[in-house]
């Protein structure tokens, strides 16, 4: 499903984030990416989401190289991906409902279907009844869960999470990891970058460790 072929990424600042990565993920697989900060975990995910382009090598999704994707095709490709950031990037002038509904509105979904899907997503992340709340009134964990609900609501085939539990207490972190595992059960390919080794080990999934390049 996701394939890295001799991928290197050098930022314009001269920093070498990834060097010669070869990696294959099967469809429906769930993997953890660990490593020290600065080892390139985020960069790896960004390459998949086309937020960055590799300096060398190529990333293939479903056998197709991302470098062959035209500019106009990127939005459509991104809709198949749910990206969860460490900072959830919520829109603070809109309610929880409207934040989660955003991907569906972008796809042009009707009102009733949107409502149904958002309710289902809220239910999955345990925020039922908080639709009309605004993000400022939420705790860090709740914000993160809204971010996850927004990433999930469009039923993406690929879920990318960059330190999704970074700001959360251990119990909540565990909960959220199980949520990801659930989505994985439903068939999504999941990549999670995390430096929480204990948590990663408990999940008993394939783990990829990135070494920092010098």
């Amino acid at each position: 499903m996701i394939e890295f072929k001799q991928v290197s990424k050098k930022y314009p600042t001269g920093q070498l984030a990834l060097y010669n990565i070869n990696l294959t993920l099967e469809a429906g697989e769930m993997v953890f990416i660990t490593g020290h900060s600065g080892a390139g975990k985020s960069t790896l995910l960004k390459l998949v989401a086309m937020l960055e382009r590799p300096s060398k090598g190529e990333v293939l999704i479903g056998g197709r190289s991302l470098s062959k994707l035209g500019r106009g095709q990127i939005p459509n490709y991104r809709r198949r991906i749910g990206f969860i950031f460490q900072d959830p990037h919520l829109l603070y002038d809109r309610s929880v409902f409207d934040n989660i509904a955003l991907p569906l509105r972008i796809a042009g979904m009707g009102q009733s279907e949107t409502r149904r899907r958002v309710q289902a997503a809220l239910d999955k992340v345990g925020l039922t009844g908080r639709e009309t709340t605004f993000p400022l009134m939420l705790s860090a964990g709740e914000k993160q869960r809204v971010g996850i609900a927004r990433a999930m609501v469009n039923k993406p085939t690929i879920i990318l999470a960059d330190e999704p539990t970074g700001n959360l207490d251990p119990e909540l972190a565990q909960d959220i990891m199980f949520t990801f595992a659930q989505f994985n059960e439903l068939g999504a390919t999941v990549m999670i970058a995390s430096h929480d080794h204990g948590l990663v080990e408990r999940m008993k999934k394939r783990t990829i460790v990135l070494q920092k390049v010098d």
Binding site: M1, E3, E26, A27, G28, E29, S42, K46, A49, L51, E52, L60, G62, G63, R71, G72, P75, N76, Y77, R78, R79, R80, I81, F83, F85, H89, L91, D93, L102, P103, L104, R105, I106, A107, G108, M109, G110, Q111, E113, R150, A151, N154, K155, P156, T157, E185, L186, G187, A188
Partner: protein, 330 residues
Amino acid sequence: MANPSNKKTAPKRNAASTTNPLSVWWNQQASAIKFSMERLWFNPVSTWITLAAIAIALSLPTSLHLLLKNMQTLTADKREVPTITLFLKQSVAEQQAKDRAELLSEMPEIDNVRVVTREEALADFRKITGFAQTLETLDENPLPHVLILTPRLSLLGDLEMDVEGLSKKLKAFPEVDDVQIDVEWVQRLRGILRIAERIVLVVSILLGLTVLLVVGNTIRLDIENRKEEIRVTQLIGATNAYIRRPFIYNGIWLGLFGGVLSLVIVHVALLFLVEPVTKLANLYGSTFILSGIDVFMTLKILLASSLLGIIGSWLAVGRYLWQSDDAIKD
């Protein structure tokens, strides 16, 4: 890449791609319309200031155009119709004058001919105070018969109309002593109006550009305020069209409501003018009525202002999207 041989299958792609594209299109439009309207209410003060700026910029060319239109109807006023006066020779008898009038009225340039006999002219003069005594002192009527010709109005609009030629032609008739042409002022006025028309056009273009800039700048500021939002929506798969849409609607509303407001301004100004203008017209014995904006012109103004709104916002968003094309990294 082959699917692994487990029970997991890829989840269904988002349902929108399977529903009919027309409803997708409509849902996207509806949410953009709703959202852009909410944005206008969200910041009422700046919205009103922008609308006022647009309205004032639009009301100036509108009122100039109106002024011009009114002046054009003034020159077309039947009562003010310009005339050509033929003074016949003293020796010409009344019957001869009437025959000549008959013939003249068949010329293509002439609409109608009125004969004023010397007796009628004298009677007219008597009515004018002060002349009566003077006329008593004369032995005989010094006035000639006069033919008053009304040229065809349509010809007067034509600046090329050969006034000189017509004058010469009329003068060549044996009965005619002198020709006095009174149409030149109309032609001159129309010439002036034609220049004024050009001026109105130039002013309209300049103020139209002003509206464009006002809308463009307002949208640009709005984009600045919503950069984060745009970035987030781009991250989750918004197309440029999706990002552009609410801003375009915003531009339409600004243009449209600005246009409505400018119509209100012009109407109020007209109401303010109607009474003194009617009074003045009465003093000139004219039935001139100040004409306002008709439905057709109203629609034209609203269409133009909306269009300016669309173009202004399109330019602002286009510029932003062009700049940010590669700058949506986290």
